[in-house]
Subunit: 268 residues, 2 copies
Amino acid sequence: MTDTKVYFLDGGTLLLDGFHVFWNQGPGGEVRIPAYSILIEHAEGRFLIDTGFDYDHTMKYLAFEKPTQTQDQTMPGALKLLGLEPKDIDVVFNTHFHFDHCGGNKFFPHAKKVCHMAEVPQACKPEVFEHLGYSDLSFSVEAAEARGRSHELINGQTRENTTFEGVEGDFELAKGVHMIFTPGHTVGHYSCMVERANDRPMMLVLDAAYTKRSLETLCQASFHLDPAAGVKSMLKVREMAEKHDAELFFSHDMEAFQTYKTGPDFYS
Amino acid sequence: MTDTKVYFLDGGTLLLDGFHVFWNQGPGGEVRIPAYSILIEHAEGRFLIDTGFDYDHTMKYLAFEKPTQTQDQTMPGALKLLGLEPKDIDVVFNTHFHFDHCGGNKFFPHAKKVCHMAEVPQACKPEVFEHLGYSDLSFSVEAAEARGRSHELINGQTRENTTFEGVEGDFELAKGVHMIFTPGHTVGHYSCMVERANDRPMMLVLDAAYTKRSLETLCQASFHLDPAAGVKSMLKVREMAEKHDAELFFSHDMEAFQTYKTGPDFYS
């Protein structure tokens, strides 16, 4: 069996207020955060976890987050650094459909797509406070039509090539790739633990906790649907990470991200 | 029948960040907000809705909110402006037990006390992100003991004189004093609509919406337990206010508060 390899695909940065990152705690002020996707090269195929943000969409709808993204930080650009093209991806799994996690979905019409069964319905009809989070609808013809934004589907998206397999609860996406249901941030959010042949498992916390401090202090992001569920999810991640002696990786922690392997460098 | 009179008891001010007042929207920066209680003089008795914050408690646990409170803005001081003493209050109704709504409860050992049946249990065992909200436990021996803080009960509080009648759903506290269940901000939050003999009903929104802008844009405060419920509660308040052509009063809106009648001046 080929050893599983995990690549972090740097997708650029966004600007938030400290009170967005650390709900009610702050301190306030501008905080620049990284956004990235995760490629898992596995004996069963190439699995892409999330697809980053789309620069043009972000500038159109969330310009106040002042996105930065080089050509190498677009989804095709980041894959090219590994000698890959979008067509090489077999499965796209979206942990949730906030714009900074699904902006590149449109590059993968051919891939199998998987997400929690409640996420597409939520993107179709979000809470009023979730409209900006679920702002990029190019990942789904169903969601774009439900929100009256099908004119933004300009990359050949069809019902067929944007249909998701809906999952629920904890499950294995591939052998040793454990999807951990961690709702709260959104209705159907997932974290992910990946077993490695030669090292401790990797716990990809995703947006259950943006940063190391968030998980340590149980302070979730201010973007959330159900904060009580969010706390339970953080406790679940902490307990699983402790039980399996997993190495923790955070989704939007600039200090931590600067120590992560990116580009052609990988974890195995 | 004596006409119902409604007094606003000015309780001082607190400092928040704009991202606390307007969840995720801001803008950030210091916002000074008023805190007040409401006295309803009614044929059936004197009803006090909430009891403001305690200055010493706030300085001890939440000094970053930089409280201001004159002698006239303490609970006994505010009542004295009306020629009343704490013993003249028949019923204390707490809309919820955040520290800025229950800090003066200790002055009313004799009064009947009423709140939503889920609020005291929540104060006993709050979510981790609710600990600072439910920080003043002097309103309840049960809550103070549950949180290991009974040493802070220094005003003669006993189990007997801090026991609440638990209510649920919408109900009339007195004839024409409609308590409206508006959860979200907390598990058992209430708003209140008061009928007047000579004018439109008053809709006391309380913390379902801190400000006029909050209600208009459905942007709740960043302090909340269940934001989806919070939106539903704001819609409920808006619909009731519209149906009854009620005049809206907001809990923490400095601009609006400066136009409200306070001290011995009253609404009837």
